[in-house]
Structure formats: structure tokens, C-alpha cells
């Protein structure tokens, strides 16, 4: 099984690097977002003692990981449509290998792109550099990337079209990102929004990034570090379990 997982992981990386538009889009879009928001709101919005750029930086990291997870897992639908998945299903490997291989591939890409942006953040002073921040930030990126890619994989496996996936993305994944405390602090939000933010697992992922990077301002209302860690690990484990469960489920539609 490990060889199959390795092969599927490697294929994701080779396909990604062979698609220049995807490389540029995955990293470029969040950078453009970050520069526009951080630039536009520089003097008009502060969160406690933080400039908006400093506040938004961990959120952008989460956004990079999420977009990479989306683009990586949307290939599940392409793989099925193009027949590649059938070829994997008749190979003597457990179906879980497909989930592990795809998630490992997408998560590697998400964590790598996040790491590139993180290094840029250190270089341009959006986050104060320390080895603890670097190591902690990278570790959280990996866990978050696994959680989001596994979540995207499970969604993609259950959907038939890339258009349907886009729909679910706009309805579920984007609101989850918007409500994660990546764009605005929890403290000033309306009660309903704040309640939604409390149940959004990404709130704790972004919170964990803030803790790891020493980016916590009391005014942002970030949950405690141990809560963030527990919820994020549980989110990753649950997403991974879901990704495996959907592949193991045998049904007629798998054979399409």
C-alpha cells in the first residue's frame, strides 16, 4: 500500500509542477488578496495593536492551504471523468490508498506553498522571525493542510462534476474560511456570526497558526492554544477518517 500511496502522492506533485498556471494561481491569488487587503486597510483598520497586514497574515496562510486543497482535490473528479480512477480501483491496493495518496499530495503542496508565503512574511516583517515560530508555523501548516485536503477529497469523491464542487466550495468552504477569524476578529462580530465562528473548525486552525506565530492580540478573541490544538487535530483526524470512509464505501456510482 505504501508504494501505491507514494506513487499517487508523487503523481500529484508532478502534475502540479507541470501545470504552470496552477502553480502561479495557487500562490498568486492569496498574495494578491493579501497585498490588496493589507494595503487598502492599512490606515483604516487595526486589530488591537496589530496592523491589518499583521492580523491578516495567518489568515492568508490558511487561505493558501485551503485553495491548494481545493485545486488538488478537484482533480479527483477529473480523475474519475478521465478514467484514471478506474485504473486505480482495479489495482491490488486498498481503496484507502487512493485517499491517503491524494491527501498526502494535496497537503504537501498546500504546506509547501504556505511555507513559501511564511518565509516571505518573515522577510517582510509581517511576522517576527524566530525558530520556534518557523517550526511551529510549519507544523500547523501541515496539520491544517491535511485537514482541508482530506475534507476536500471527501467532498470531491461524492460529487460528479467540477461545477458541483465549485458550488459546494462557495457554499461551505469559503464561508468556513470567512468565519474562521482570518479576515476579521471574533470580538466585534454579531452574536450569530460569533456563534458560527465558534462552531467553525477553521477558527481553531487559524487560531493555532496565530499562537504558533506569536500573532495573538487580545482584541482578536482567539481561542486558547490548547483548545485550538485539540480541535485542529480532531478536525484533521475526522476529515482523514471521512476521506477513507468515502473511498471504502462500495457503490455502483464508483464504477461510472
Amino acid at each position: 500500500m505504501s508504494r501505491a500511496v507514494y506513487a499517487l502522492w508523487h503523481r500529484e506533485l508532478v502534475r502540479f509542477l507541470g501545470d504552470r498556471a496552477r502553480v502561479v494561481g495557487s500562490l498568486g491569488q492569496p498574495i494578491v488578496f493579501f497585498l490588496l487587503f493589507a494595503g487598502a486597510l492599512r490606515d483604516s483598520l487595526r486589530v488591537g495593536t496589530q496592523t491589518y497586514g499583521e492580523f491578516f497574515f495567518p489568515g492568508t496562510l490558511a487561505m493558501i492551504v485551503m485553495f491548494t486543497a481545493i485545486f488538488a482535490t478537484i482533480t479527483v473528479i477529473e480523475d474519475r471523468r478521465e478514467g484514471f480512477l478506474q485504473g486505480v480501483l482495479v489495482a491490488p491496493v486498498p481503496r484507502a490508498a487512493i485517499a491517503f495518496g491524494k491527501v498526502a499530495g494535496g497537503a504537501t503542496l498546500g504546506a509547501l506553498l504556505g511555507a513559501v508565503f511564511l518565509l516571505g512574511g518573515f522577510a517582510f516583517g509581517f511576522v517576527p522571525f524566530s525558530f520556534a515560530a518557523l517550526a511551529g508555523g510549519l507544523a500547523v501548516l501541515v496539520v491544517l493542510a491535511i485537514a482541508l485536503t482530506a475534507c476536500g477529497f471527501a467532498l470531491a469523491w461524492c460529487l460528479d462534476s467540477t461545477a458541483g464542487y465549485h458550488g459546494v466550495m462557495m457554499l461551505v468552504l469559503m464561508p468556513a474560511l470567512l468565519l474562521s477569524g482570518a479576515f476579521f476578529p471574533r470580538t466585534g462580530a454579531h452574536g450569530i456570526v460569533r456563534a458560527l465562528m465558534t462552531v467553525d473548525p477553521l477558527t481553531y486552525g487559524v487560531g493555532l497558526l496565530r499562537h504558533a506565530l506569536g500573532n495573538v492580540d487580545p482584541a482578536a478573541g482567539v481561542p486558547a492554544a490548547d483548545v485550538c490544538l485539540s480541535v485542529t487535530l480532531a478536525f484533521a483526524a475526522a476529515s482523514l477518517a471521512l476521506a477513507v470512509a468515502v473511498t471504502v464505501r462500495r457503490s455502483a456510482r464508483d464504477a461510472v
Binding site: G18, E82, G87, V90
Partner: protein, 325 residues
Amino acid sequence: MNDDARPAIAARALGHRYGSREALAGIDFTVARGARYAVLGPNGSGKSTLFKLLATILPVQQGELSVLGVDLREAPGAVRARMGVVFQSPAVDRRLTVRQNLAYGGALFGLHGAELAARIDEVLARTGLTDRASDRVDALSGGLRRRVELAKCMLHRPELLLLDEPTSGLDPSARRELWALLRGDPDLTVVFATHLLEEAEAADRVLILHEGRVVAEGTPGELSASVGSPALEVAVDQEALPGALVLLATRFGLHPIAFGGGLRAQAHDAHLLVPEVYAALGSKARRVSVSPPSLLDVFFARTGAPFPDGWMPPPAQQVREGGRR
């Protein structure tokens, strides 16, 4: 009994339903080791469902199915390492090179390192793709892409190849090339689904499916002989087809079916009818001839249904396809 003495495939009362729709209604057949076995049938006959069952993509719902001695109801995964499957839809990654596709395909079957590299070189040579190994698959013609599929399925040296419409979309010369690759390995069992008569007639045995049931099973020779009568083939212009059909039915008492831009009808005295049909059709007749009974007639004789459109592409279309390449 050891595995080698068992048939490659044995199906007993094999059925499959998609919800309330019955795709296979309890079929029986056996494929001997080393045979070239064709599954012939129009769209919706249950061919694809049968292939998905054989390929272990669908679970066995009703009846029994054993492949290479393995009962698929109990251990479907156990047989995967011993068979190769070529699907109708391509299972190669168009954005990767031929060699990359083979490397990933081999890794899924547990091959690695020097052995994988050697096997890749071996199948590339066997399929005549050595020169194209570094090309991306989307730069290859349809025929070459099919060869990549076949190469991928041969990497792990399977005992059984399942090919679902392997020559679908290929012109006649690419079809011949593909079949040539599969000759010369007497130990390899090849089971293929097709809607092309010429491919089925070249098989050792043929299973004809219609609406989820077995219509006929046997060697092409046995099946054709079971029909008995030769067939009268009449080629006319498209606009004259309805008139000719009525003429054959009323004046000559035949049961003609339209196929390949012409008409075909079984008749004991077909050779005697040739001049009479010519005379009756006059200038509308392009060709009137007698052909031995074929699987086409077997299907008609056993089902009472003519061949659905597209079951046999008209000769004119084949010529056009050939000319495009």
C-alpha cells in the same frame, strides 16, 4: 484442483441490478485458460456491467463468479494482481509522459526500482512505444494511446486481460495493430467486449448478450452454423432502402434487416434469388450477393430483433475513418 486446471472465468446465474433496473439476468458462461473470448452485444446489453463485475469494480450481487480460481464474492481483491484491465474510457493520464504513466501504473501493482524500469522497457519494446516513452500522452494518436493502456496493463504480467471495447474509436489499421500485439502469448487469457463483428469472429469463443441475457455462446463457427441458411445481402442507395425492404419482404417472403447501409436476409436458396432480386430492383441495386451466415444472423435469429444502430458501423463509415488518418 490447482488454479491452472480451473477455468479462467466461471459464472453461474450471475445477476446484477442497479436499483430496480436489471442489468444482468442470471447468466452462465465459462472461459477456458488461454482463450480469446469475445463478449458481443449492443449498448445496454449488460456488457459493461459484466466487465465491471469481472474487474471487481462492482460487487457480486447474485449468483457466482470466479476469476482465475478466486471466488469474487469472498475475495475480490485477491485476483487484481493477476489481471489487467483496459477500460473503454482511457485510464492513462494525458498530462504525463508515457514512461511516467507506466511507472505509476507499475507502482500500483507493487513494482519498483530496477525491476519496474526493466518491465517498462520490456512493455515499451513489445508495444512499439520505445521511441515515444518521453512524449506526453496527449501528444499521441488514439491508437498509440490505446497501446499505452495495453502496455500499462501488461507490466505486471497478468494471466488474464479484460478489454472493454479496446478498439473503440480506432481506425481499422490501428485496430489490427492492437490485436497483433496480443497474439503470440498462448498462456494469456483475453476476454474482450466488442460491438464489431469482425473482432468477435476472430475470437475462440463468443458470448452474445442482449438485454442482460445470454443469447448464444460458442465458437463463431458453431454459432454461425446453427443458423443454417446463408444470407442475401443487398446494397442499395439510401433513398431506395425502404422500397427494397418492402420488396424483399412481400415479393420474396424474406425477413430483411437493415445494416451497414444495406439489407440482409436469410434465405435457404439465397444464391437462386440473386438474379431475381437484381431484376426486381433494377437500377436501384448496387450489389446483390450471398454471404455465409454470421454472428449478425445469430443475433437476429435468437432475439428476433435487428441489430441496433451503431452495432455494426457501415462499411462506408469505416472507409471514411480510415481515410482521415
